[in-house]
Amino acid sequence: MVTTWANRRKTRIDDLATGRSLGADALVRLRRNPVAIVGAVIVGLFILVSIFAPWIAPHDASQSFPELQEGLRPDVIPGPQPGFPLGSDQNGRDFYSRMILASRQTLLVGVFATLIGLFFGVLIGVLAGAFGGWVDTLLMRFTDVLLSIPSLLLAISIAALAAKPSQTTVIIAVAIVGVPVFARLLRGSMLAQRDSDHVLAATALGVKRRSIVLRHMVPNAIGPVIVQATLTLATAILDAAALSFLGLGDGDPARAEWGLMLANAQAYLDVRPALAFYPAIAIILVALGFTLLGEALREALDPKGRR
């Protein structure tokens, strides 16, 4: 059949009639993408383990065992043995249980840091994008300042303010680093819509300004922010590990969190490298999982859908 204008027009209408939104379309594309599947499997496993951690782990994170402590020497940390599949940590605790339980704390740090950053970033972005003008200028000047400090340096300066570093200060420090990124992204795509036809149409229909912003502009602008949030989950976990390494992590030796465990294990790298390797591999896998998922999401949501 010769492709006429009318035919092309018909197929176009048929396409539209199937009524697949960009979101549904993205989901279909995600399911076909092996990168997304690998990322989702890693992240899914991580979340499952962290939910069921207390039931999987045979022991408590802070419980020391005399039979393990007996074997501790300045140059010896007991390895795997019956009842302790990964051996002892530097304090005679069950390393396996700590690894499992740490997944929870690590997820907690990553998720909370990202969510707090996302909340304030979206708040600033919506205000700037919705109002424009001097509100926009003022808020963006503020994000400029935060962005002008290299991210790890910013996290360090915030975390260093705390007299006693804790998990909360780590979360806050990592969260603040994300705020300007989310704010800028959202503001950019919202400003682009201010003059677009669908906003004009909504205005002409007499839709309230608040509804226009919240129901017409934000849903259309949130895509890149969601992608960024997925990627931020990875960097948040890595940044938290870096802060722990610099001595700005939680000082409580009983706390099991991969970044903290990795940082503390550096002193025992000669004695028992496994103490550093397991948390490191866990962090790398989880960061990789979130990155893969984020990248796949970015591709899926890209209307060009080429790369």
Partner: protein
């Protein structure tokens, strides 16, 4: 062009001004105020009051701010609590070490990253490409300090190929000219000193280079793919231009714009990575100053370094914008 530079420089002023306000407030956010934080365990109400008087903290806040601003503008950031020296002198002494490390890392990242990204894009979907893409994804997921420790353990401790820490062997009596150890050796014709410094530089530079290398490779690949699919490349190919000409003049040049932005951003982030790398390799640069400053809560020092870091970051990004005009003549800076 000149107008563009001047305007961009003027735009930096309000940013740095707000930053100075933030940093000023930052110290006052300390629990119990700076004096209590500085004194630590030794803090008594009398001592706090005395230190407040000495530091001028009993003055009205706006006055304090303008004093602080005035001093900062003249390069006086106060004295380090650890060494007692002016912070600006400490930074001056440590800067060459970090500069050397950062330049080496950036060199590795750019020299390897751009060709790697380009080749991966050319052979898209082949094993080489897949390996590269996986490598870039893993590269950003590895904690920098852990990678540093691994390199140190394997190549310095176990294999003994490189020295495990420091910038130069103590046994070598090198002449210090600029503070850049490798460069100094060449300058004074003490080639053994240069070689020794270079050997010290290898592992920390690799550790610091991984993240920028991964990011630059990935952006180059994506950007080259974008350009390869464009109409003008097809036209250039179909009108029979030599493949080399198409690659160099059409593809690479157009693909480099986003890459140069990335290089700029990564340069700014190097300071963050340097803190971790320098701590692992006992490097003795700005990163070491920060790490020590954190341990001892040396706030004047941290404050000055953050301000400096921000200044450098903003300037580097200005340079990147300027480089656009060199790479792409269509970009007119106004």
């Amino acid at each position: 062009m000149l107008r563009f530079v001047v305007r961009r420089l003027l735009q930096i002023v309000p940013t740095l001004f707000v930053l100075s306000l933030l940093l000023f407030a930052w110290l006052r956010l300390l629990p119990g105020g700076p004096a209590a934080a500085l004194l630590g365990d030794k803090a008594t109400p009398e001592k706090i009051a005395e230190l407040n008087r000495v530091l001028g903290l009993d003055q009205p806040i706006p006055l304090q701010y303008f004093r602080y601003l005035g001093r900062s503008l003249t390069g006086d950031f106060g004295n380090s609590l650890i060494s007692g020296d002016p912070v600006i002198d400490e930074i001056g002494r440590a800067l060459p070490a970090t500069l050397e490390l950062a330049v080496a890392a950036l060199l590795i990242a750019v020299v390897l990253g751009i060709p790697l990204g380009y080749v991966a894009a050319r052979y898209r979907g082949r094993p080489l490409d897949t390996t590269t893409v996986i490598g870039t994804l893993v590269g950003v997921a590895v904690p920098v300090f852990f990678l540093g420790f691994l390199l140190k353990q394997w190549f310095a401790v176990d294999l003994g190929w490189f020295p495990p820490s420091g910038r130069q062997s103590v046994s070598i009596d090198a002449t210090d000219v600029t503070g850049l150890a490798v460069f100094d050796g060449l300058l004074t014709r003490e080639f053994d000193a240069s070689w020794d410094a270079l050997r010290h530089l290898v592992l920390p530079a690799i550790a610091l280079a991984t993240i920028p290398l991964a990011v630059i490779t990935r952006i180059t690949r994506a950007s080259v793919l974008d350009v390869l699919g464009s109409d003008f490349v097809r036209t250039a190919n179909s009108k029979g231009l030599a493949p080399g000409t198409v690659r160099g003049r059409h593809v690479l040049r157009n693909a480099l714009l986003p890459v140069s932005t990335t290089i700029g951003l990564q340069t700014g982030l190097l300071l963050g990575g340097a803190v971790l790398t320098e701590k692992v390799f006992v490097w003795g640069g700005i990163g070491t100053l920060i790490a020590q400053g954190i341990e001892r809560r040396d706030y004047p020092r941290l404050q000055a370094i953050v301000l400096l870091g921000a200044g450098v970051y903003v300037l580097v990004n200005l340079l990147v914008d300027l480089s656009y005009a060199l790479i792409d003549p269509r970009v007119r800076l106004r």
